[in-house]
Amino acid sequence: MAEAAAVAAAQARAARSVLGQVVLPGEELLLPEQEDLEGPGGAGERPLRLNAGPRSRVRVVCGPGLRRCGDRLLVTKCGRLRHKEPGGGGGGGGGGGGGGGVYWVDSQQKRYVPVKGDHVIGIVTAKSGDIFKVDIGGSEPASLSYLAFEGATKRNRPNVQVGDLIYGQFVVANKDMEPEMVCIDSCGRANGMGVIGQDGLLFKVTLGLIRKLLAPDCEILQEIGKLYPLEIVFGMNGRIWVKAKTIQQTLILANILEACEHMTTDQRKEIFSRLAES
């Protein structure tokens, strides 16, 4: 009983000190500015601030796995805490969060929850009137209007059948409404979205693996690209579609991608070298 009380009364930790460590749901994290205010004790001299404290705060973005709880961050998923500095953190990437940075929890899961702006692979399950019902692996199928394709008009309908694979992005995705997806961007161009071609193989992996493979410095993809001509499409809902010249090559590719999640770097290199020889 005493331990439970102790755990419940655990001090909120500073977010900065926990970066890269495992956090559990229910923990509260202090942002850097608050750290100073609620620092050790309150006794002792404090330098006079000319500008009032709260007004000089910067905007912080809390990403997936975190929620706002008053002035603190509340962890909702278990995983490692990550942070990205604004404006050029991580080697020249586009600015993260504009002032204050982004915090998020790097967690692992298989179930996809639709998020606005994500590119996903969906399977057309039904065609009803003007919309297609697309299964994206979430709790309900997303709707896709037939006008949401490049060059589609009321007379010129897109050639989409039940069972086709679609690569599109979400425009509406929240817990209160049915998700809606489209296959064009805001300018009306397809940008690679739309029906995915014939043949190939679709398989499912965990969401964390997709993010790992799509990271800018992913070695796995670079090595795969050297093997033989192939095409891959990654959906953020955990689905990958691959296509190569022969069925055997396609299957090898699928097996590698599924297995590379649990392999160490050495094992992976060994497998690739064996493949390159054969």
Partner: protein, 142 residues
């Protein structure tokens, strides 16, 4: 006979009307709540957190359109590196300057009045001579 009401009574009536209307308005009898400006924005998307590459990829020329797309989309994400190639000019700067020199004269000639046309005399080489100063009336020094 006095038609209508006095200005005084009119004012009184207006005031009374206003009072009735404002009494009908509802308001919350609560103390003023200070709206706290939240400095934390919630986002559920991973796009903001990690720079992810574009999802469609093709290697070794399997699908040329997708390879073109890959270059396009990935260049959009990262800050574009300014390429060092300077634009190749069809006409060099010097030649451009020479042509311009002659052009100014000939086009200007078109719009000049008859009296001014003799200013555009040409040299032996075909270059326009520099303008001579216009002859103005000189006041005699006393």
């Amino acid at each position: 006979m006095q038609r209508g009401l006095d200005s005084e009574t009119k004012k009184q009536l207006e005031e009374e009307e206003k009072k009735i209307i404002s009494d009908e308005h509802w308001y919350l009898d609560l103390p003023e709540l200070k709206e706290k400006e939240s400095f934390i924005i919630e986002e559920q998307s991973f796009l903001l957190c990690e720079d992810l590459l574009y999802g469609r990829m093709s290697f070794k020329g399997f699908n040329p359109e997708v390879e073109k797309l890959m270059l396009q989309m990935n260049a959009k994400n990262k800050t574009e590196e300014i390429e060092d190639e300077t634009l190749e000019l069809d006409v060099s700067d010097e030649e451009m300057a020479r042509r311009y020199e002659t052009l100014v004269g000939t086009v200007g000639k078109k719009f000049a009045k008859k009296r001014d046309r003799n200013k555009y005399e040409e040299d032996d080489n075909g270059h326009i001579k520099p303008f001579k100063a216009k002859k103005m009336f000189l006041k005699p020094q006393d």
